[in-house]
C-alpha cells in the first residue's frame, strides 16, 4: 500500500497564482521528499525535509512538515507554465531486508495555464 498520499489528485491554476499540494503518510519517518515528474518520465528531486524540521524553503518552493498530523505540504509561489508537472511525496519504507527505500504516493497533477 502507498505510504504517502497526495491531495488533491489534480490542480489547475493560472500563471502567477500559488499552488499548494498536501501529502499524508502513515508511519514515522526520518525524512520526507518531494519530486516532480514531467511528461510521465523521470522524476527530479525538489526538496528534502527531515523529521526534526518544520519548514524548508528552496527558491519558489516552501515545504512544511507536521509530524503530529503525519502530513506535509508543498507550496509553489508565483507559478509558471513550466511548473506544469506531477508532484510526488516520498517517505522512507523499511524493508524486511533491513534496508530502506523510498515509497511514493500517486501524485498531484498540476496544470498551470498561461
Amino acid at each position: 500500500s502507498q505510504q504517502g498520499e497526495e491531495d488533491p489528485q489534480a490542480l489547475s491554476i493560472q500563471e502567477g497564482e500559488n499552488a499548494t499540494m498536501n501529502c499524508s503518510y502513515k508511519t514515522s519517518i526520518n525524512n520526507l521528499q518531494w519530486y516532480r515528474q514531467n511528461s510521465g518520465r523521470g522524476l527530479v528531486h525538489l526538496i528534502l525535509i527531515r523529521s526534526n524540521e518544520r519548514e524548508k524553503h528552496s527558491g519558489r518552493l516552501r515545504v512544511t512538515l507536521d509530524t503530529s498530523k503525519k502530513s506535509s505540504s508543498l507550496l509553489i509561489t508565483a507559478s509558471r507554465a513550466a511548473d506544469t508537472a506531477s508532484y510526488f511525496c516520498a517517505t522512507v519504507l523499511w524493508r524486511n531486508s533491513g534496508y530502506s527505500t523510498l515509497t511514493f504516493g500517486k501524485g498531484t497533477m498540476l496544470l498551470v495555464s498561461p
Binding site: 502507498q2 526520518n30 525524512n31 521528499q33 519530486y35 510521465g40 518520465r41 523521470g42 522524476l43 527530479v44 528531486h45 528534502l48 510526488f88 517517505t91 522512507v92 519504507l93 524493508r95 524486511n96 531486508s97 534496508y99 530502506s100 527505500t101 523510498l102 515509497t103 511514493f104 504516493g105 500517486k106 501524485g107
Partner: protein, 114 residues
C-alpha cells in the same frame, strides 16, 4: 556530470516475448532501484541493489521479472514472457547509499506489450 541513463527509451514487444531493460547509474552510487509506473499511477517499487549485498526483490510482481547488477554498476531488468499488463514506464534510480537518501532518476523506458 552524467546522470542516470536508461535504454531503450521506448520498447514495443509482442506478448510472450522477453525484454531486457538497461540502467546505467551515476558513477559512484552504490544503491540502485527499479520502479514501475503504470498510466496515471504512482511508482511501484520492484527491486533494490545496495553495493555487493543480495538484492531486495520483494517488489517483483512475479517470477517472470528478474534483475541483475554487474560489477556494482550497470543493471539489467529482464521480463520474460511479457504480458499486456506489463506495459508501463520502467524507471531506474540511484543514490549514494540507502537510508532514504535523495534518489536520482533516469528518463525511463516506456514498454508497450501488444
Amino acid at each position: 556530470g552524467a546522470g542516470v541513463s536508461q535504454s531503450p527509451s521506448n520498447k514495443v514487444t509482442e506478448k510472450g516475448k522477453d525484454v531486457e531493460l538497461r540502467c546505467d547509474p551515476i558513477s559512484g552510487h552504490t544503491a540502485l532501484y527499479w520502479y514501475r509506473q503504470s498510466l496515471g499511477q504512482g511508482l511501484e517499487f520492484l527491486i533494490y541493489f545496495q553495493g555487493n549485498s543480495a538484492p531486495d526483490k520483494s517488489g517483483l510482481p512475479s517470477d517472470r521479472f528478474s534483475a541483475e547488477r554487474t560489477g556494482g554498476s550497470v543493471s539489467t531488468l529482464t521480463i520474460q514472457r511479457t504480458q499486456q499488463e506489463d506495459s508501463a514506464v520502467y524507471l531506474c534510480a540511484s543514490s549514494t547509499r540507502s537510508g532514504g537518501r535523495e534518489q536520482y532518476f533516469g528518463p525511463g523506458t516506456r514498454l508497450t506489450v501488444t
